[in-house]
């Protein structure tokens, strides 16, 4: 929603980076703790969900996609969708063979 942001180069404050870093480390520790408790198939889902949240922080803040053009951000989303689609379709094939 910031249209002019890409014109002048956006400088990310140190504080923001430190906050994101602490969130990422906390999420890592949570995912380690959660997976130590046996929750069956739910463990996989939780671990991958946390990984997805972590990667969105890395992509949006560290790789500053949040401040880039829509075009670039949508290309990244497209690549992620392609990979997910391939994994999904391949697993469908194995599940219902």
């Amino acid at each position: 929603m910031e249209p002019t942001e890409s014109e002048t180069h956006h400088i990310i404050p140190y504080r923001t980076l430190l906050i994101v870093l602490s969130v990422l480390i906390t999420l890592t520790l949570i995912s380690v703790l959660v997976t130590q408790i046996s929750l069956g198939t739910l463990t996989v889902t939780i671990a991958l969900l946390i990984a997805a949240v972590k990667s969105s922080f890395v992509l949006r803040i560290f790789m500053h996609l949040k401040f880039e053009s829509r075009f670039l951000a949508s290309m990244v989303v497209a690549v992620i969708l392609i990979i997910s689609a391939v994994i999904f379709i391949t697993l469908l094939d194995y599940l219902y063979r």
């Binding site: 180069h9 400088i11 990310i12 404050p13 140190y14 980076l17 430190l18 994101v20 870093l21 990422l24 480390i25 890592t28 520790l29 995912s31 380690v32 997976t35 130590q36 463990t43 996989v44 671990a47 991958l48 946390i50 990984a51 972590k54 990667s55 890395v58 992509l59 803040i61 560290f62 790789m63 670039l72 290309m75 990244v76 690549v79 992620i80 392609i82 990979i83 391939v86 994994i87 391949t90 697993l91 194995y94 599940l95």
Partner: protein, 202 residues
């Protein structure tokens, strides 16, 4: 931004080019994740048991090291934009150091496995069955390919550090610096998925 009129520079194109390259990297590792999902689906128990043998402690430590290094390289870009050359170099050195510690941990981790005759092509590993062979084959290949990316990233960051030292990269011209950051973050991004898939999901 004072750039001489005779030198053509297009930061936007440089950045887009870097991202296009990163897309191919994402698809490369994406393909490996497809292989991982299928083999895991076929050999659930073997993958479950084999994953127990990896050290969660070293895995977590390495994850945190990489996350910190990602933050420090992002901070070095902030520093160069604020015209603080010394701080930018310091942050890059910390990033390089963290990358090195990551590789040293990986060396000891792999060393322990190899001592126990767990490596691709090992006859003792083959006796443990197809599932273990596939798990460790993927483990060594994917973490190895990732470690190779760490090494390439460190070389890239090293080159950028020299250019900053020589004032070739400065507050008005830092796209290469940013591209090295993007590469390093991608390496971190891949590890964010490798870590739970190999160390945590047991």
């Amino acid at each position: 931004m004072n750039k001489p009129a005779d030198i053509h520079r297009d930061d936007e194109a440089s950045k887009t080019g870097m991202w296009l390259f990163l897309f191919t990297e994402m698809l490369l590792f994406g393909g490996l994740f497809v292989v991982y999902s299928v083999y895991r689906y076929i050999n659930p128990t073997a993958f479950h048991l084999a994953a127990h043998e990896l050290s969660v402690f070293i895995g977590t430590l390495n994850t945190i090291l990489l996350l910190i290094s990602s933050a420090t390289i992002a901070m070095s870009i902030t520093a160069i934009q604020k015209k603080n050359k010394k701080l930018a170099l310091l942050f890059l050195c910390i990033t390089l150091l963290l990358g090195l510690v990551f590789l040293i941990n990986k060396y000891f981790e792999w060393g322990d496995h190899i001592k126990e005759h767990i490596y691709p092509g090992s006859a003792i590993l083959a006796l443990r069955g197809q599932g273990d062979v596939l798990f460790y084959g993927l483990y060594f290949f994917m973490t190895g390919l990732h470690a190779l990316h760490i090494i390439i990233g460190m070389i890239f960051i090293g080159v950028v550090s020299v250019l900053i030292y020589k004032d070739k990269i400065n507050s008005g011209n830092f796209q290469l610096h940013e591209n090295s950051g993007l590469y390093w973050h991608l390496v971190d991004l891949i590890w964010i998925f490798l870590f739970p898939l190999f160390y945590l999901i047991t």
